[in-house]
Symmetry: C2
Subunit: 174 residues, 2 copies
DNA sequence: CCTTAGAACATGTTCTGAT
DNA sequence: TATCAGAACATGTTCTAAG
């Protein structure tokens, strides 16, 4: 087998599912993800992991989500699944293994669900008002959404890509 | 085994990866997807398929995409992958098996890449103009984006959900 | 009730840019 | 050049609602 938890060099061409293949041609070197059977190309958030595990961990942190295990907090990858189905246990596996990620804007505390809803409503309302006012009256009032969008929490969908200036979809909601 | 291409009743609880499990408790009935090893619960686009194959097919049609096989148009599902990695061959497998889907708005011909770009630029420009004008002058001019968004091709990202009125993400780009 | 198209949500893979 | 966070893209799963 070509998998190694250590730094021993292994080879692979480019099997789409990032699973190890038989060493046919010497191309890229890799090791095994600390958390699942997939290939790990680099260290992610302080732990050698595959990209799937990286993104799973990242999204939960960014979106500031939390899950509760329905069982005994001992869920395992079952059947043909490569990872733990229970999000709570899968995430705990990440942190237990040493993954860590503290976004800059982490001081932004968790908005309550009601706050999030309020935020969305605010945007919708502001946009609606802008639409009305710009048709019927002249005003200097600032109708831009910057006030609301300013220091918005990462969990919201409406983030603007720093490079492209386009809206991102990671934050859901769209 | 509990898989059957016919209508014989099988059972499953709720294994996350839609793969058949051993018949433990009699709950739901299912058959095998015509195109892959997954479970098929219903007919989709005229063929008994799983939801993954359904969405794969749907998206290509909706987005009006086309792919070309880099090999001999004989690609197969390899290794641990459940489906054909080559999109061209996987899609052809769908149509060959009888899947069919002709959206209402199909008369909307394929916009050239340049047209697509132009569309995006139009929206951006219109939005920018609206932002400026509503600050400095009074006008009856319609600054809504409806003109542009009107009969827009499905392949564009900016579709509005008929029910929620929110932007959808299926169309990519956003 | 069924069936199933489509939306919504979740996850996985690849690309890009900064360092 | 190598690393890796983050964006962008692609795919898979679940939910909703119309008929
Ligand atoms: Zn992993
Ligand atoms: Zn658990
Ligand atoms: Zn299938
Ligand atoms: Zn092919």
């Amino acid at each position: 087998m070509c998998i190694s938890t250590e730094s021993s060099a292994c080879s692979s061409t480019s099997a789409s599912p990032n699973l190890p293949t038989s060493p046919s041609s010497q191309v890229a070197t890799f090791r095994k993800c600390t958390l699942c059977p997939r290939i790990a190309y680099t260290t992610n958030y302080n732990l050698l992991t595959c990209d799937a595990c990286k993104m799973f961990f990242r999204r939960i942190v960014i979106l500031n989500k939390s899950y509760t295990c329905k069982y005994e907090n001992r869920c395992r990858a079952s059947g043909k699944s490569l990872v733990i189905a229970c999000k709570a246990c899968r995430f705990r596996q990440c942190t237990d293994a040493g993954m860590m990620f503290r976004p800059n804007f982490s001081e932004v505390q968790t908005p309550e669900p009601s706050e999030l809803e309020a935020f969305v409503r605010n945007v919708v309302w502001l946009d609606a008002r802008r639409g009305k006012n710009m048709k019927f009256k002249f005003t200097d009032e600032d109708f831009s959404l910057s006030d609301v969008l300013e220091n918005r929490p990462m969990k919201l969908v409406t983030r603007v890509c720093a490079t492209t200036g386009w809206l991102l979809k990671e934050g859901k909601l769209l």
